[in-house]
C-alpha cells in the first residue's frame, strides 16, 4: 500500500466521526470522507509533521462540507444558537446519566454548524485549541469561548430533550 494511503487510514475513523457530526447523515458523511481521502491522496504537498497532517486532513474535509453548503445556498454562519445563558444552573444540574451517545448525537444535530464544528474539532478530531484556532482562522481565545458556549447549548438540548437512556441495569436487577 502506498505511503499516502497507509498514512490516511489511521485517521479515517475520526474523519468519519467528524463528517457525521457535520452532516448528520451516514451516507453524506461517507461521501465527505471519500472526497477528502481522494484529495489527500492526490495532493502534491502533504505536511510531514503528524499534527499538521491531521489538521490538514480535517481542514480538507471541512472545506468540502462548507463548499457543499454554499452550493445549496445555505448560510452556515448565520445560523446561530442562543447561548443558553438564561438558565445555566438547570442545564448543569441535569442528571449526568442523560448524557449518552443517543442524546449527545441528537443534541449535536440541533446545534448550529459553528457550534457543532468546534465541538467536533476538539473532541472528535482531537485538535488542540491552538490547532483548532489555526484551522478556523480565529484567535485561541475565540476557540475557548466558542467551545464553552457550544457545550452549554449542547447541554441545554440534552437536558431539554425528554429522552432517557433505557435503564437496562435497573431492569436486570428487578428481574
Amino acid at each position: 500500500m502506498p505511503k499516502a494511503s497507509r498514512r490516511i487510514e489511521t485517521y479515517l475513523d475520526r474523519l468519519y466521526g467528524y463528517a457525521l457530526s457535520l452532516s448528520g447523515a451516514p451516507h453524506d458523511a461517507k461521501d465527505l470522507v471519500q472526497e477528502c481521502a481522494a484529495r489527500a491522496i492526490a495532493a502534491r504537498k502533504v505536511p510531514e509533521d503528524e499534527s499538521a497532517y491531521r489538521a490538514w486532513l480535517f481542514r480538507i474535509l471541512r472545506n468540502i462540507f462548507l463548499d457543499g453548503i454554499r452550493k445549496l445556498q445555505h448560510e452556515p454562519t448565520s445560523i446561530e444558537d442562543a447561548d443558553g445563558s438564561e438558565d445555566v444552573a438547570s442545564i448543569w444540574d441535569c442528571e449526568r446519566e442523560l448524557i449518552s451517545g443517543l442524546t449527545v448525537r441528537m443534541g449535536l444535530q440541533k446545534l448550529s454548524t459553528r457550534h457543532r464544528d468546534i465541538i467536533s474539532l476538539v473532541d472528535i478530531a482531537g485538535l488542540s485549541y491552538s490547532e483548532a484556532a489555526a484551522l478556523l482562522g480565529v484567535p485561541e481565545g475565540t476557540v475557548m469561548s466558542r467551545l464553552s458556549r457550544a457545550r452549554r447549548v449542547l447541554m441545554g438540548h440534552i437536558s431539554a430533550e425528554n429522552v432517557h437512556p433505557f435503564p437496562l441495569a435497573k431492569m436486570k436487577k428487578s428481574q
Partner: protein
C-alpha cells in the same frame, strides 16, 4: 482562603487539558473546595467522553470508501526493472525520482476511480444535441489542451455528460470526467487530466476486485478509464480502442471496432 472562581471557559479548558500548570492548579484548588464546581467538571468530562466515543465504533478503511489501493500488474515488473536500471545507471537519486512518479501515478488513478464511484451514486443525466456540444466545448476548453474525445458507440455507449474538476488540493491539475452511458445501465467514465505527467505511456490495468480500470498517458494528458460490472472481454477491447483513439487522435480501424461490437453483442449486461 481561595476566592478565585474559575470561568466557564476555564472549566472547559481544564477538562480539555489546555490550561497552563499554574492555572490548572488554581482551578483544581477551586474545584476541590466547591462541590458544585466539581459536579460541573464531572458533567463536562462525561460530555467530552461521550462525544469522543461517537467515532470510536466506526471502523473505516479505504476499501469501504471505494478507494482501495490499486494492485498494479504491469507496473510492478516495470517499477522493479526501472529501479534496477536506475540503480545501475544513476544510483539512489534517480531511484527516488521514480518512487515519486509511482506515488503520483497511484494518487491520480485513485482520484479517477473515486470520481467514477461517486458518479455511480448519482442519478444519470443524459445530455444530447446542442446542450452536450456546448457543455463539451466549455469543459474541454478548461482542460487547456486539445484532446480527441473517443467515440464508444461500438460498445453501445453514448457520451452523456462532461464534468470538470480540479483533482488536486493544490489545484494545479485540471481534470475532466467524460461520462458514457449504455441503454441498459452501463456507466463508463474516462477521466482526463492535464498536468505534469506521472503515468506510463503504455496501457496498464488496475483491478481491486470491485472496479476495473485502465490508465495511460499520452503527451501531457493522463487518462483513466473505469467501468463497474462490465463484461471483462468487452471492457478490455473497449479500453484498447479508447487507448488507440487517444494516441492516434482518431478512431481505431474498422476491424478493431467490429471486434468490439461483437464482444458487446455477446456480453452479459452490466451488473450494478
Amino acid at each position: 482562603m481561595n476566592d478565585y472562581t474559575p470561568s466557564e471557559e476555564d472549566l472547559n479548558a481544564y477538562v480539555d487539558g489546555e490550561l497552563s500548570p499554574h492555572n490548572r492548579a488554581r482551578v483544581a484548588q477551586a474545584v476541590a473546595a466547591d462541590p458544585k464546581l466539581a459536579d460541573r467538571i464531572a458533567t463536562l468530562a462525561r460530555l467530552k467522553s461521550v462525544v469522543m466515543g461517537l467515532s470510536e465504533n466506526q471502523s473505516m478503511t479505504l476499501d469501504d470508501l471505494g478507494i482501495a489501493t490499486p494492485r498494479y500488474s504491469r507496473p510492478t515488473t516495470r517499477i522493479a526493472a526501472s529501479i534496477l536500471a536506475v540503480v545501475l545507471i544513476a544510483g539512489v537519486v534517480a531511484a527516488g525520482f521514480w518512487n515519486w512518479r509511482a506515488a503520483e501515478s497511484d494518487a491520480w488513478v485513485a482520484t479517477a476511480k473515486s470520481r467514477h464511484l461517486a458518479w455511480l451514486t448519482e442519478s444519470g443525466e443524459q445530455n444530447t444535441g446542442d446542450k452536450l456540444t456546448s457543455m463539451l466545448r466549455v469543459t474541454m476548453k478548461r482542460l487547456e489542451v486539445p484532446v480527441h474525445i473517443p467515440d464508444m458507440r461500438s460498445a453501445k455507449l453514448t457520451l452523456s455528460d462532461a464534468v470538470y474538476f480540479q483533482h488536486d488540493e493544490s489545484e494545479k491539475y485540471n481534470a475532466v470526467q467524460l461520462r458514457y452511458t449504455g441503454r441498459r445501465g452501463c456507466r463508463v467514465s474516462l477521466t482526463l487530466s492535464h498536468g505534469e505527467a506521472a503515468l506510463d505511456t503504455s496501457l496498464s490495468e488496475v483491478d481491486d476486485g470491485h472496479s476495473r480500470g485502465f490508465y495511460w498517458r499520452n503527451g501531457e494528458v493522463n487518462y483513466a478509464l473505469f467501468a463497474t460490472g462490465m463484461d471483462t472481454t468487452r471492457f478490455t477491447l473497449l479500453a484498447r480502442n479508447v487507448y488507440l483513439a487517444t494516441r492516434e487522435k482518431r478512431e481505431p480501424p474498422e476491424p478493431k471496432q467490429r471486434e468490439l461490437r461483437v464482444a458487446t453483442d455477446t456480453a452479459t449486461p452490466c451488473r450494478a
